[in-house]
């Protein structure tokens, strides 16, 4: 006699499901590969290519390909490829760190507002709106100008002006989740406010925050590029935006010198936003229909 019942479907971890969803999104997969390649190039590029990016190696503004300089040289005759590789380190590092700073501020403010509600929420959300009113780039320009142009000031300046979106998302998630029964159960089991906020509610609020954090890395890279383009960055490091800014006088005579670093920024941010979109679809299957 044969058993008529079907075997029960195997339970799969949410992580495996998310990964499967992500892998179905071809654009996001390609983008992740590109992104990984960029990160590897940033890590092993400078030591392998073994050139000091500040060293003046050839005549200024020699076009790409000449004398074996694949991407040409800049206005001081420095090797552009070497500059792009070490610029990748700075741009990526600032992008990730600034995103981390803004996510940290955003989660703290959003969690407190969404959890305590009442006057705490009122005060914190007014505070958030205040930061939304300040023109972000202008405000960070002022911070960098007043407190000196170092990598730390630039990173903090970017983080301090861009946390509002994370705060609003976190608050919305907390408002929704805090009413769920499992939270009440934890509270009944004796969990304190801190534990409820960061150990019980936060893990379930994370998916949209993760997506926002991923996109934030891209925004921060663009932001740093903007500041560096204006000359408001640490003069002792090379970043992609700074290469564009320092060659700005030659836009019309030597277009390649501003085009190449821009392409690097563009590809990196594009890859990050595609990965972010992929994560969004994978973590929010409901949104897939859009």
């Amino acid at each position: 006699m044969t058993d008529q019942t079907q075997p029960a479907p195997k339970a799969r971890s949410p992580l495996a499901e998310t990964a499967e969803m992500f892998l179905k999104n071809h654009a996001a997969v390609v983008a992740s590969i590109v992104l990984i390649a960029i990160i590897i190039a940033a890590i092993i590029g400078p030591p392998l290519y073994a050139d000091d990016p500040f060293e003046m190696v050839w005549a200024p503004f020699s076009p790409p390909g000449e004398e074996g300089f694949i991407l040409g040289t800049d206005y001081l005759g420095r090797d552009m490829l070497s500059m792009i590789l070490s610029g990748a380190r700075v741009s990526l590092a600032i992008g990730v760190t600034a995103a981390f700073v803004s996510v940290f501020i955003g989660i703290t403010i959003g969690a407190l507002a969404g959890f305590y509600r009442g006057w705490v929420e009122e005060v914190l959300m007014r505070f958030t709106e205040f930061f939304q009113v300040l023109p972000t780039l202008l405000f960070s320009m002022v911070i960098v100008a007043l407190f000196g142009a170092s990598l730390v000031t630039v990173t903090v300046a970017i983080g301090v002006v861009s946390w509002t979106a994370v705060a609003r998302i976190t608050r919305a998630e907390f408002l929704r989740i805090r009413e769920l029964e499992y939270v009440m159960a934890s509270r009944a089991a004796g969990a304190g406010n801190m534990k409820l906020m960061f150990a019980v509610i936060l893990p379930n609020a994370l998916p949209p925050i993760i997506v926002q954090a991923a996109l934030m890395v891209g925004t921060a890279i663009l932001f740093e590029a903007g500041l560096a383009f204006l000359g408001l960055t640490d003069p002792n490091v090379i970043s992609w935006g700074q290469i564009i800014g320092s060659n700005r006088e030659a836009i019309l005579s030597e277009p390649f010198a501003v085009t190449i670093p821009g392409v690097a920024i563009f590809i990196t941010v594009l890859a990050i936003s595609l990965v972010g979109d992929g994560l969004n679809d994978a973590l929010n299957p409901k949104l897939r229909a859009r």
Partner: protein, 326 residues
């Protein structure tokens, strides 16, 4: 009556925001190393302690901090944003001189972005899986990922260097002779590239949002009713659906205004547009604190006013907000 009270509430709240900006400005001014006396002394090529003392007293720097703050807010309320030692004129005069150029650029770019964004969004929403829809998604990604100053430079290289259609910078040709019409045309020619550059960031955002909000509205019951009544598709899309799909776009456009001002700084720098953005960069490089903070305050003022207007417009086009039922 309820409408009037809520409008007054919004205005009071906007004023509170502006005072908060002033307090922040004041704190920044005090956190920065050196004060006005140092700047003036530097300007005069050095001054002895007695002169420094007098300058500090003249500018009220010897008063308690809270009195200085009140004095500062009072001055700003009277339209006095301080004196720029770098440009040798009152900051308010500087701003009045530069503001029109920036407003012209920013408002034109926003209108273009909203108009084209809505059109693209509607096209994409009518065939959510069609070619047009994918193009809008792609465009949105490009607009989001390219640094705006780089987009400007690329346009400059294409349409000013390779195909010399437009001038490479500035707002007008000072050597131009002719009547008002020629002048206007000249400014318009100078505006094309900066406006397109600035619009490119927001165009993508608006088209994507308009697409999503149109898709949502087109799925609503009342649209099915309209279809069942036999109305033409164009009539349904533009008369019935678009009206309701627009309000998130208007909301976002208002919220984005501080980002538009930020974008303007970069675009103005690329195209040497004689507005607030180039002024901001000049004054930052010259460490001209009163001017920098004046610009920060003024742009926040613009953002607050735009948000207020957006809010009022939304109340007018969306009765749900008007009655507080949403």
């Amino acid at each position: 009556m309820a409408l009037l009270i809520s409008v007054l509430q919004r205005i009071g709240y906007a004023l509170a925001l502006l005072i908060a900006v002033l307090v922040l400005n004041f704190l920044l001014m005090h956190a920065a190393p050196g004060d006005i006396a140092d700047t003036i002394a530097q300007d005069m090529g050095g001054a002895d302690a007695e002169v420094m003392e007098r300058i500090r007293r003249d500018y009220g720097l010897d008063l308690p901090v809270w009195q200085q703050l009140l004095r500062y807010i009072g001055n700003v309320a009277q339209g006095d944003l301080g004196y720029s030692f770098f440009f040798q004129v009152p900051v308010t005069d500087l701003l009045i001189e530069r503001v029109p150029a920036t407003l012209l650029l920013v408002i034109t770019a926003q209108l273009l972005a909203i108009l084209v964004g809505v059109i693209l969004g509607v096209i994409a929403a009518r065939r959510p899986n069609g070619f047009g829809s994918h193009m809008v998604t792609l465009l949105a990604l490009f607009g989001y990922s390219a640094p705006v100053f780089w987009t400007g430079i690329m346009l400059l290289i294409c349409f000013s260097l390779w195909v010399p259609l437009f001038p490479s910078g500035g707002m007008q040709d000072v050597t131009l002779e002719g009547g008002l019409f020629e002048r206007v045309l000249d400014v318009a020619r100078h505006m094309v590239l900066p406006v397109i550059t600035l619009a490119s960031i927001f165009l993508a955002l608006y088209s994507r949002l308009c697409r999503a909000s149109m898709l949502e509205v087109l799925g609503a019951d009342y649209i099915r009713t309209a279809k069942a009544k036999g109305l033409s598709e164009g009539g349904i899309v533009f008369k019935h659906a678009l009206k309701n799909a627009l309000s998130p776009v208007v909301t976002l456009a208002g919220l984005q205004f501080s980002a538009v001002v930020s974008g303007a700084v970069l675009v103005e720098t690329v195209f040497s547009w004689p507005g607030l953005g180039t002024l901001a960069l000049q004054s930052i490089l010259a460490r001209d604190t009163p001017t920098i903070l004046g610009i920060l305050f003024f742009s926040s003022l613009v953002v607050v006013v735009v948000n207020l207007i957006t809010d009022l417009v939304l109340r007018l086009i969306d009765p749900r907000i008007r009655t507080g039922a949403a």
